[in-house]
Assembly symmetry: C2
């Protein structure tokens, strides 16, 4: 195989961007062969490419090697399973599913070791986070003690939430900021720091918007080694903040406003505390500014890596199975709020799903039949009018 023949399912906001990138030649050795969307006017935007209204037809009739899934969240599972079962390589948008049980079903459909299955965690290509991960993994920071990520620059207007009827509903999207905007941050969090032992989260539902799902979250995390963390997010705050602070034995890292600042302790803080005779003394520090420019290749980087993984066996930037962790964190934050208690990880996926089904059942929002969890909704999804992101 010299090139990868790609089919894109869902050419709403993100799918259309991906299609355009491939058509413009931004992804070497990748050819856009087919697209699929129930909306004819969207298919018409890409008239040079074979278009299908139904996923079944796409998978049955087109000669694609790989599928990129950019549909509403619930259908990632159903369409992903279907695509994997045809043997195609699959790249799925984040989140890989809406809830842990669906995520596990999706991953279970991936058997073949030579079948590439990746997830669109494009922020893993950002050199700020790559550098932080390197500092953590190399031991340059020493043991990590506390992390605080305030990520409130996901401001969204009411117009945004009104733009699709599936959006920000339990039946249509399965969650709010944790499912739509934060999968990136949650993925980076587990990618850099690993998974916590337990979480206590405080989600607010429709705090800032006329929606039923969470648009404001404060979560407290405890790790097996004692590390603690706070993760705060909101789609209601403007101007918002994106600040990641890491307190470690070897010093403090702050990533904010395109700056990477490392205040390095000459002596690790706990060692200094134990050995220094002063009562009010503190370690000498170096103020280090690590120069980083730009935010990396992002979506095109992940898509190009997917193609290289298929053609050359290049390791994936974001294997789909790792997408289960951000999903588990999002589910755990909601579960903690709904059960009003700390939640130990791994969570009970069935318990979370029970809560989700109750929320869907008691929702007063539009509930198109197609937006149901479970394995039998794939066909209906493919004919629904609301595939837009």
């Amino acid at each position: 195989m010299q090139t990868v023949k790609l089919g894109i399912v869902g050419v709403g906001t993100m799918g259309a961007i991906h299609a355009q990138s491939v058509l413009e030649g931004c992804i070497p050795r990748c050819q856009l062969t087919a697209i699929c969307d129930p909306k004819a006017e969207r298919l018409n935007l890409f008239s040079a490419v074979e278009g299908f209204a139904s996923v079944d037809d796409l998978l049955r009739l087109s000669e694609i090697d790989a599928v990129l899934i950019a549909t509403p969240h619930y259908s990632h599972t159903t369409i992903g399973i279907k695509a994997l079962e045809t043997g195609r390589h699959v790249l799925v948008e984040k989140p890989i599913s809406v809830h842990k049980s669906d995520g596990e079903r999706l991953l279970a459909a991936h058997h073949a070791s030579n079948q590439v299955f990746a997830a669109m965690f494009n922020q893993r290509t950002d050199p700020f986070y790559l550098k932080l991960r390197q500092l953590v993994q190399s031991g340059d920071l020493g043991a990590i003690r506390r992390v605080s990520w305030t990520i409130t620059n996901w401001f969204r207007t009411e117009a945004y939430y009104r733009s699709s009827d599936w959006r920000a509903t339990w039946a249509g999207e399965g969650g709010g900021v944790l499912l739509n905007q934060c999968p990136h941050n949650l993925d980076l969090f587990q990618w850099i720091f690993g998974m916590p032992a337990q979480v206590r989260a405080f989600c607010h539902f429709g705090r800032y918007h006329d929606i039923e799902v969470e648009d404001d979250v404060t979560a407290y995390l405890e790790y097996p080694d004692g590390m603690t963390a706070v993760f705060s997010t909101s789609t209601g705050e403007a101007p918002g903040t994106n600040r990641l602070e890491v307190a470690a034995e070897r010093g403090k890292v702050v990533i904010e406003n395109d700056l990477f600042l490392f205040t390095r302790n000459e002596v690790p803080m706990s060692e200094f505390s134990r050995t220094d005779p002063g009562r009010f003394s503190a370690p000498q520090t170096w103020e280090i500014r690590i120069p980083i420019s730009g935010h990396g290749p992002q979506h095109n980087g992940v898509l190009g890596n997917f193609v290289s993984a298929i053609l050359d066996g290049t390791p994936l930037i974001a294997p789909a199975r790792e997408g289960l962790n951000s999903l588990e964190l999002a589910n755990a934050f909601l579960l903690s709020t709904l059960e009003n208690r700390a939640i130990k990880l791994p969570i009970d996926g069935a318990l979370f799903n029970q809560h989700l089904q109750k929320l869907i059942a008691s929702s007063t929002r539009p509930k198109p039949g197609v937006f149901r969890t479970g394995s039998d909704d794939m066909h209906r999804l493919t004919t629904n009018k609301s595939l837009s992101r």
Copy 2:
């Protein structure tokens, strides 16, 4: 009265600093008339001033108008009550007491409206916090939605904790970072933002040091109007952070590293969200840097204000009764951890005291008999060797 004749009880670390300030003439119209400390070598440092080993003798024999109490926390209550009962004006170091019930007993001893009773919340004189309070109270920020204060620059060494046997014990100090370092921050918090409706806190006991009390705290607060907040502190982190971030309708304020930054929304964020047709748009902002230099007169400012209140009737910067709020917050954070649940305010002071007594009873640390809560320990305190701060 032309000058205030002051007596200082406890001339350890803070008391000695206050005594020196008065002797050097830093406090107009204030005369250091007497000091009291059980340690003779401390009294000898101030040989120009009448010295007493016992509080009872000081209050009975010296011609002082006012008393400044700078003893270990528990005795603030007992000595404070005794001093108030003699009719003296009283300035008490923070915290006003160790727990809410003691604080209420102390305040109940203050009857006379012309008797001045103040607390040493010196950070209320800091122009950074004065300016923030002004912006909040004037409505310039609009409704406050979220506050985050990371105040981890209270690093203390093991040598600090070993410096006195009463320090960082349940019996001797009654708490850790919340009782010793953070009363300032908790007082500023309530002074600027008011009191929360409930809190959920996660205190870690001896996380960084060989102590039994809390040296690391993460607290989540919810306010009656829906405002949320996170308060994080530690004495184990170096280099530490002191960053106060306020997300309000009219924009965001960040106080950090001697900068006061106000990113002002031209349109309040919720109004913009409701009315703007864009899906990914956000309010236009002004980046405002409010010039502030220095951190104000601090301790001398509060002491001078105490003198002016006595001589001129000047309103107090920090009336002692307001010290109950920071105490209630500190107690509530501990109570939430000990009961492993969210705590509604006002707290049940008796319930907190039950927990504290259990902690004292089960402690394996030195428990000098003098470091007991209750009203009968005053005499013993005045003869104990460990009045040092």
